[in-house]
Amino acid sequence: MNLAGTDAREEFAAAWRYLSNPAFHDELIAANGNVRPQWHPLVDSLLEIGPEGLARRWQEGRRLVHENGITYNVYGDPQSTDRPWPLDPIPLVIGAGEWRTIEAAMRQRATLLNAILTDLYGPQHLLREGLLPSELVFRHTGFLRPCAGLSVPKGINLHIYAADLARSPDGQWWVIADRTQAPSGAGYALENRLVASRVLPDVFARAHVRGMANFFQTYRDTLRGIVPEHRENPRIVLLTPGPYNETYFEHAFLARYLGYTLVEGGDLTVRENRVYLKTLGGLLPVDLIVRRQDDSFCDPLELRGDSMLGVPGLVEAVRAGHVAVANALGTGLLESAAPAAFLPILCRHMLGEDLKMPTIATWWCGQPRPFEFVASHLDNVVIKPTFPGRNDHPIFGARLSVKERAQLLERMRASPADFVAQEQVSLSTVPVWDDGRLEPRHFVLRVYVVAAGDSYAVMPGGLTRVTTSLDSLVVSMQRGGGSKDTWVIGDGPTPEFSLLQAPAVPLEVSRATFDLPSRVADNLFWLGRNVERIEVAVRVTRAIVSRLYSESDPASAAGRDAGVRILAALGYLSTDLPAAADRTARLQDELLEMIYDSATPTSLGSNLHQVRHLAWLLRDRISADAWRILNHFDQQFSNPAPPEPLRISGALNLLDNAIMTLSAFSGLVMESMTRGHGWRFLDIGRRLERADQMVELIRHGLGLVPTDESGRLEALLEIADSFLTYRSRYLTSMQPDLVLDLLLLDEANPRSAAFQLARLREHIEHMPESRSSIHRPAEWRLAVELLTEVQLAEVAELARLDPAGRLSNLDNLLLRLAGELRRLSEAITRSYFSHALASRQLHAR
C-alpha cells in the first residue's frame, strides 16, 4: 500500500477519524498531511485490522493488564493501593535515525551528570569556580554531607538515569526533567512492551522494533561489576520503601525479572559494619543494594533521622567498602530543575563539547537578571520550586488571575532563590485510541540510560506518558494520565533476546530458592490462614443457602441451624436472629449482604479483598497464574447482585465457583512453590487454620447437648467435605461418634483435625529453630502436645454424656485444642516473625 498516496491517506483518515491539530507537531502525520515513514508498517496494519478489529484485540490487552496485575498506586487514595495501569494500544514510533540522535544525547547527558556528582561530593571545583551557584547545592536537602568523600565503585554514581523528553512544534527534542535518584518506569516500559507486542504481534515483527532485554542485561552486568568484595555468587537485593509506594508493582516486577531479592529496610541489618539480610535461615551477607528508596531515607543514623524506613549503619558500611548502593547515595541532589540552567556551560567545561540535546529554557531566579526576565514573562513560563519538599506543583503563569499573579510575584521577590522558571512549550501530539477512534494527545517520553563500561547505554524504547486531554499540560500518572509502549525502529530484523531465556553467562545449577526474609514468611503464613478461613466461610454459607427454604424438612432445617450457629460463632452473622416467623427473611437478608455487599467488613468480598492484598504484598513470590486466579475471584465478588428472583440461585452459583477457585488457587500456589521455607510457612498457616476451623465447626455445629438429628451431622460432613468418605464407610446411618472420629481423629482424612496436626508436627520438625535437640522451642513442644492429644483421644469417651447429659469430654478436648492452637500461632510468631521489633531514635544533648 502506498501511504504517501492520497487514497490511503484518506482511507486512514476516514476509518480512524484521526485529525491532528495543526498547532502542534504530530508524531504520526507530517505537516503536509502524509503519514511519517516510520509509522508506515503500523498504519498499514491498522488499516487492515480496522477499529473493530483493534477493539477486539485490545480486550485481550486489557485482560493482560488486569491479569498480570499491572498496577500503580495513587497517593492519598484510600480506596486503592492498586489501580490498573492505564495503557494505550497505539505505540509511539521513533525512526532509527532520529533515535541515534537521542541516544547520543542521552549518553552524553548521563556522563555529564555523573561527572558533576563526582565533583560536588568531592573537590567542589564547580562551586569554587562559580560554574554552578553554591546555593543550589548547599541549600538542597538532597546534598547528603555524610556521603561527601564516599568512594563509589568505578566512579559510577548514576547506574541508571532517566530523562523526560518532549518535542516542540519545530520538531526539536528537549529534555524537560532529569531523574537521577531512583528513576521509575523502566519496568512499566517493559510490561507495556509485553502487552503491546501480544496485541499487535504481526505488526511488531514486521516493523523491526528493537528489543529491550539487552538493556536490562547491561544493567545487570554493570551492577554485578560494582560488587565490592569479589565473590562468586554475590547477593544483590532490591530495596523498596514498601507496598504503599506508588510504583511498588514495578519494584516487585523488576526484582523478579532481574533475579534479585525484594527487601524493605526492616529486612536488612548492619552487623560489624556489613549489611545482612534477615532470613529464616539466619543472617545472609548482602553485597549490593539496588535502591528504589530515596537516598535520604536510607540510613536513620546518618541521614534523615525522622524516618525509620532505612537501615541504621548503612552509610558507615558503604564507607567501609563492604557494600555498594546503586544509584550511589546522594544522587538525588541533581533531581531538580535548577541545575539544568547551567548544563551548557558545565558540559563545555567538563566534557569539552556542546550539549547535544538542549534542556527546555530554564531560569533560576536566584540570580538578578534571570529573575527580572521571568518576572516580566510570567505568561510564558512554568514556575517550579528550586528545592524539594515545598509545594511541588508547577504553576502555569498564563493561568493565573491578576491577584494570584501579584501574590506569586511577591513571594518570588521575598525569596527569589526558591523559584525556577521553565519555558512553557507546546508538547507534540501522538494518537491515542479512544472508543473506536484516534485522538491527538500530548506526551512526554521518559528515556532510560544505564552505565555500561566507561560509558552509558540507552534503552531502545521508553515510557511514553500521555495527557488526559489536549488542553492538559501536565503528564502525570498520579493525576490520571495514560501510557504507551515506545517502538524504536531498528535498521533490520532484530534478533530475539529475552533475559529469562538466555543469560549472557551460563549460570551454575543451583538448588537455592530466593532468600526468605522473615517479613515475607509472616505474610505467607497469614496468606495460608486467610485462604483457609475464607474457604470454610464459603462452605458453611453454601450449606445454609442451599437449605434456606426447607422449613418443612426438619433434617434440612437442623442442618441449616447448625450452619447459622457456626457462622455466628465465626462472626459473620449476628447472633440474635429471632426464632419467630420472619427468621428466614432476616437470615436471607443477612446472607445476601454477606455474599454481595463487599463494603461490609464481615462480607466474603471484603475478606477476599484482604487475601488479595496479602497476595499482592507477595507479588514477587507468587506465580503469575496463581495471581490471575485470585484477581478473577476478587472480580467475581465485586459484581453487583443479580435482580431479585435470581439472587439466591446467583449466590449459590457464586459460592460453587468460589470453592473451585479457592481450590485452584491453593493448588497452584502449593504446586508451583519450591519446597523451601516459604512453602512451609504457607502450609503451616493453612494447616493451623484448618485445624482451628474444624475445632470450631464441631464445637458449634454439634453443640454441647447432642441430638440425634442426622440433618445436623450431614450438614457438618458436607461443610467438611467428608460426606463421601463417610458414606463409603458407613452407608447411610448417621452417628455422632462416627462423624467425630472422621472429622477429629482420623489421620487419613485430609480434612480432619488430626491430619492437620500431623502435618504441623512435620513442618515444625523441619524449621530452623527446631534443629537443636538440646533446646526444643515452644512451637515444637506445642505441636507434639497437640498431635499426642488427638492420638490418645478415644472416640467412645468423647461421645459419652456426662450426668447432666452433655458432651463435656468432647467440649473440654475442643477447648484445649483451640487454646493450644492459639499458643502455637503465637510461638511461631515469636520465633520467626519478630522482625517487627521497633527501632527507635536515641538523642542526648
Binding site: T141, P300, P312, E316, A320, A838, R840, Q841, L842, R845
Partner: protein, 289 residues
C-alpha cells in the same frame, strides 16, 4: 590553662536492646583557640565496631555498634584541653556587617567560600523575615559586625528566659522566638537564624563550659554561636551567658545547627521504655608538682 572535661551519657532500658548503632561527636577539636591534650572514649558494653572519622565540617565523628543485648549503655568521654587566651577584639574595628554579607555572597576567596555554606537555612534553622526583624535593631546600617552581634547576643540574653522545662531537644526555632524561653541550644539556634536572615554566616558550636557561679549551662554539654567576620575569621558568642567565649569554653564540634553536631545520637533495636542521664564536669586540671 588546661581544662579537664568528663562527659557521661547513660541510657537505661526496660527491655534489652539487641543492637544499637551510635554516632558521637565528643572529641574536642584542635584550633587556634585550643589544643587537645588527652582524649579517651569508654563505652560499656564494649562495642564490636568503633570507627572514628572526620566529618564534612572537620569534626571527629565516632561510630560504634554494640550487638551484645544490654539494658544499659554508658558512653564516657574524658578530654584534657589547653585553652589559649587571645587578645580581646575591639568590636568597632571589625568591618561593617553589610560588607561581610556582600563578600560572602561573592565568595571569591577560600575563606568566604567556606563561610558561604553557613549563610543558608539548615535542617533546624529557618531563615525568615521574623528573624530578620528581630535582628534589625542590633544592625543599623554601617555598624561594625561584632558590635551588632554583641548587641544581638545581649538582647537575647535579656529578653529570653533560661528554662529547661520550656523546650525539648526538637523544639523548632520559630517557637523559641514566640515563647521567649529555652536553653542554650534554643538560644544558639535563634541567634543563628537572626544572623542568617540578614545575610551573615553563622554556625552552631557544641562544646563545654567550665562550671562557675555565674555561668549557665555547665551541667550538661553547652552550645553557642560563631559568626563569620571577613579578615577576623570566626568569632564566638554565647547568648546564654552574654559573653564572648574565652578561657572557660571548650569547643567539641561545629556545624550548621544541632543536627550536624549532636553529641550523641543513635538507633536502637528494642529497648522498651528508655531513660537518659547526662553528666558533664569541667574543671581546671590540678597542677602537679
Amino acid at each position: 590553662m588546661a581544662l579537664c572535661v568528663n562527659h557521661t551519657t547513660t541510657y537505661t532500658y526496660s527491655e534489652p536492646v539487641s543492637i544499637c548503632h551510635t554516632e558521637v561527636r565528643l572529641k574536642p577539636r584542635t584550633s587556634a583557640a585550643q589544643t587537645l591534650l588527652e582524649h579517651e572514649l569508654v563505652i560499656v558494653p564494649a562495642p564490636e565496631v568503633l570507627i572514628a572519622r572526620q566529618d564534612y565540617f572537620g569534626n571527629t565523628a565516632t561510630y560504634f555498634s554494640s550487638q551484645e543485648p544490654h539494658l544499659k549503655l554508658t558512653i564516657t568521654a574524658h578530654s584534657v584541653v589547653e585553652v589559649h587566651a587571645s587578645d580581646p577584639l575591639q568590636p568597632r574595628l571589625t568591618p561593617k556587617w553589610e560588607q561581610v554579607s556582600e563578600e560572602v555572597r561573592r565568595y571569591d576567596r577560600a575563606e568566604t567560600f567556606d563561610a558561604l555554606q553557613f549563610v543558608f537555612e539548615s535542617p533546624r534553622v529557618r531563615t525568615a523575615s521574623e528573624f530578620a526583624d528581630y535582628a534589625r535593631p542590633s544592625f543599623p546600617a554601617g555598624r561594625p559586625l561584632l558590635e551588632g552581634a554583641l548587641d544581638l547576643c545581649g538582647r537575647i540574653y535579656k529578653e529570653f528566659k533560661y528554662d529547661q522545662r520550656a523546650t525539648t531537644v526538637s523544639t523548632p526555632v520559630d517557637e523559641v522566638l514566640r515563647i521567649r524561653h529555652g536553653v542554650c541550644q534554643d538560644f544558639a539556634h535563634l541567634m543563628i537564624a537572626c544572623l542568617r536572615s540578614i545575610g551573615l554566616p553563622a554556625r552552631y558550636v557544641s562544646g563545654y563550659l567550665r562550671s562557675g557561679r555565674n555561668s549557665v549551662g555547665s551541667e550538661a554539654s553547652h552550645a553557642w554561636v560563631s559568626v563569620f567576620c571577613a579578615g577576623f575569621g570566626w568569632l564566638d558568642l554565647d547568648p546564654t551567658n552574654n559573653l564572648m567565649p574565652a578561657a572557660n569554653h571548650v569547643t567539641a564540634a561545629w556545624g550548621r545547627d544541632y543536627s550536624d553536631v549532636s553529641p550523641v545520637k543513635g538507633v536502637a533495636l528494642g529497648g522498651g521504655e528508655q531513660a537518659i542521664t547526662v553528666g558533664v564536669d569541667v574543671a581546671p586540671v590540678p597542677i602537679r608538682y
